[in-house]
């Protein structure tokens, strides 16, 4: 085999192996299901510093048990300061936590994690969810339509809750886990 072609082949094989193992490592380390795109991902798990892990599906979250927000306008700011508004419907996070009574006495923070490994930048105080009942939600509709590619569930936090932050980072698409700290 020509030397040049041999080097090209070796490079391709090395890069292929690196990517394969990097993917495997990411799936294991981040606890990601590699086949989640082919499954029905309408379940949300709330775990961490809680009495018992809570698993809810889309119908549970839409139920009247929890405080529902309907087509409410949320204000967003992205990483370069661009501002925009969108309307979302969903259940208030604080109402879910209180109705289910799963919080421990020392539970203090929450963080959103998506099915694709994306997560909100850092845990924020549960008191923010309590004080802003209508503005920290688990959304299932945008402009009265299902979330399609971004869903079925997505976390939404209004700019007023965490001012001076890029709130788009807290809008975690394909939301599957809420980690209580």
């Amino acid at each position: 085999m020509e030397k040049r072609k041999f080097y090209i082949l070796v490079s391709i094989v090395l890069v292929g192996i690196s990517i394969f193992w990097l993917n495997i490592y990411a799936f294991i380390e981040l606890e990601i299901d590699p086949f989640w795109k082919f499954k029905n991902n309408d379940t949300l798990t709330i775990k961490g510093n809680v009495k018992t892990d809570l698993v809810l599906n889309l119908e549970d979250i839409k139920s009247d048990l929890y405080h529902q927000i309907e087509n409410q306008e949320f204000h967003f700011v992205n990483a370069i300061g661009r501002q925009f508004d969108n309307n979302y419907s969903g259940a208030s996070l604080w109402s879910i936590l209180i109705v289910e009574g799963i919080l421990n006495a020392d539970s203090s923070t929450f963080q959103f994690i998506g099915a694709d490994g994306f997560k909100s930048p850092y845990p924020i105080s549960l008191s923010l969810a309590e004080e802003n009942l209508d503005y920290v939600i688990i959304a299932y509709e945008c402009d009265n339509s299902p979330l399609f590619q971004d869903g079925p569930l997505m976390s939404i936090v209004d700019y007023s809750v965490i001012p001076n932050e890029a709130t788009t980072h807290w809008a975690v698409k394909n939301l599957v886990t809420i980690l209580i700290g």
């Binding site: 993917n23 990411a26 992205n78 694709d116 490994g117 590619q149 890029a166």
Partner: protein, 214 residues
């Protein structure tokens, strides 16, 4: 001395053309003076504008979202953003045309309301600059006309945007493996889509009779 000879040669040539055809072909015989021809500018702007519309309006990320499960996977198809400049370079062999193509593309994306605003023009120019560096390097090592060379140049061209957008988006909190995969995907997409697919399209265009300017 050489330039005087060239000027004389050119004057004779132009006179011959004007006498025979009654007009001077636009941009013809300009290559040795290192100036852009009208055709160069037309290729750069038309293909750049086309690329701008496609990059803005067609959500290529839909292709990858169907199956790739990790965040950052859309980098696998990101190479199409820079492919247009490779096609233009193939038809003109002038690196300045890469910059004009990417500037035209960036302007269209900006005017169509890209979420990054004016930053998108800077990103396009930087992508063009990286592609120029890529071509410069591969031509220095004698791979200027091979698939490998064009692939590597394309990889360089498409690589800038991935770390730039991830840094501007402040994705520091994401796991390092996601960063590594996204950056590798950007380079691979540059090789396959920007470089090799761009070269294939360029070859097909030339074969179909599209005039080159080199």
């Amino acid at each position: 001395m050489k330039s005087e000879e060239f000027k004389k040669e050119k004057e004779v040539y132009v006179r011959e053309i004007e006498e025979v055809n009654g007009y001077k072909k636009t941009g013809f015989k300009k290559v040795r003076e290192n100036k852009l021809t009208t055709l160069d500018l037309l290729y750069s702007t038309i293909i750049g504008v086309m690329g701008g519309f496609i990059s803005s309006i067609i959500p290529f990320s839909l292709l990858i979202k169907v199956w790739y499960p990790l965040t950052g996977g859309t980098q696998l198809v990101s190479g199409h953003h820079v492919m247009w400049a490779v096609i233009v370079y193939g038809l003109t062999q002038k690196k300045r045309n890469i910059m004009i193509t990417m500037l035209s593309k960036g302007l269209i994306e900006f005017l169509l309301g890209d979420i990054w605003g004016i930053v998108i023009i800077f990103v396009n120019i930087m992508e063009g600059f990286c592609l120029v560096i890529g071509f410069f390097l591969i031509e220095r090592i004698g791979e200027g006309q091979t698939n490998l060379g064009w692939g590597i140049a394309g990889g360089f061209g498409n690589f800038f945007q991935a770390p730039f957008f991830w840094m501007v988006n402040q994705r520091w909190h994401l796991h390092w493996s996601l960063w590594a995969i996204a950056l590798m995907f950007a380079f691979i997409s540059g090789i396959l889509i920007t470089g090799i697919l761009g070269r294939t399209i360029k070859n097909a265009l030339i074969k179909a009779g599209v005039p080159t300017t080199f």
